[in-house]
């Protein structure tokens, strides 16, 4: 591929990590995750900042995507510089030093049923 795939900034407007044993319904667990693609021939260095309604933003959370690889990142695995608060809605801004593609995935489980809901992230490409 001659041109880089994706863009350098993405926004996921809706995030929510339920507290343990807590959520809209006790039998419902939600796993919030990001699916990231780095189709380039070099590493992508990525930073996530989480925004809230009633406090200063958290982060940046830093990680790396190897060349020609995808990465599945669960929000509740982000612990440095601080865990993302549970039971709190947040919005994530994902910034990379190279072009990537980001999608938001939510796995909802209730008893015997599972549902995987995916929502496209917003590709915040600068106006050319």
């Amino acid at each position: 591929m001659s041109k880089p795939v994706g863009c350098k900034r993405w926004v996921i407007a809706e995030g929510f990590i339920p507290a343990a044993g807590h959520g809209p319904a006790p039998e419902m667990r939600s796993h919030e995750a990001l699916s990231l693609l780095n189709a380039a021939e070099h590493e992508a260095n990525v930073e996530i900042t989480a925004y809230f309604s009633d406090r200063e933003p958290a982060g940046p959370y830093r990680f790396t995507i190897p060349p020609r690889r995808t990465l599945r990142l669960r929000f509740n695995d982000l612990t440095i510089p601080e865990p993302i608060p549970t039971s709190t809605e947040f919005t994530s801004v994902v910034e990379s030093d190279t072009h990537i593609v980001v999608q938001h995935t939510r796995l909802v489980s209730r008893q015997a049923e599972y549902a995987l809901m995916t929502t496209p992230a917003y590709p915040d490409r600068p106006a050319s």
Copy 2:
């Protein structure tokens, strides 16, 4: 962040506020909301206009998002200049004096089950 996050106009094509005790099914309640992000260092002044199939538009509904904050806005909390009619489909145009990100969220509850459906808004960026 050196460049502003998002854009100044967003469109949410599908909105619907059920009347109290009314809706596709009596046991189903829907909460229509917008998730908004202002990642900038200054306030965002926002206006919403609601369009309908059989009457003039309602609004503008005015509110402010503090710097570096998200805002969750429920459509049935919009009362000035007039409440948005219930049991009526509408489309919202969200305009801000600075760059923001908008997503549409619908919480559907039926008896013991909950579902959170999110739909991306349309970022109406002017052609550059």
Copy 3:
């Protein structure tokens, strides 16, 4: 609003009208619809063309959206120049002589449950 809202061409990649009493499950009915917004001060003249996997496209289906109004259009109400075949997947291209916003809506009903699924259409803006 100083600049027109939306764009002149939209694509809905996934469409399907079940035959009467037919579908993935007998108790499931689906209503495919488009939500359209014309935020401008003049009428929008719109044409839909439906593409299929094994026959020539159908249409154009012509209609008008009044100024400052939304329009809900059900695919099975399109009859001129021909009804869209049932039990057949199709893709729609929506073209307007002025800027509009389009979203795809699917109402799925099963016994006592209803679900409204919305999918954004693809805004086919020409590269500037």
Copy 4:
């Protein structure tokens, strides 16, 4: 139509082919598919590359879309140069020599219920 419909590269961030008799729940089967539109007057020659978290990409998978036609492509029908591994998350990059439109479709079946979930693909248009 005077201008081509769509763009030449699309990304589907979330893909997953369950192994036979395997998946989040035994009674749940998922059919991952792409809906593609070629609205042009000539063939579209398309290549898909699948990216993974822990191995080199698979592909390219090559196929053709006739003029003025849609194509429904199931991921588990892709066998040359190799089948896409099952029970493995992957991301697809779809590249065409002419403009096309792509959407991701997932049919989930559980006992008597069916759900068709569609997610828009990311139109990776180069910055103009």
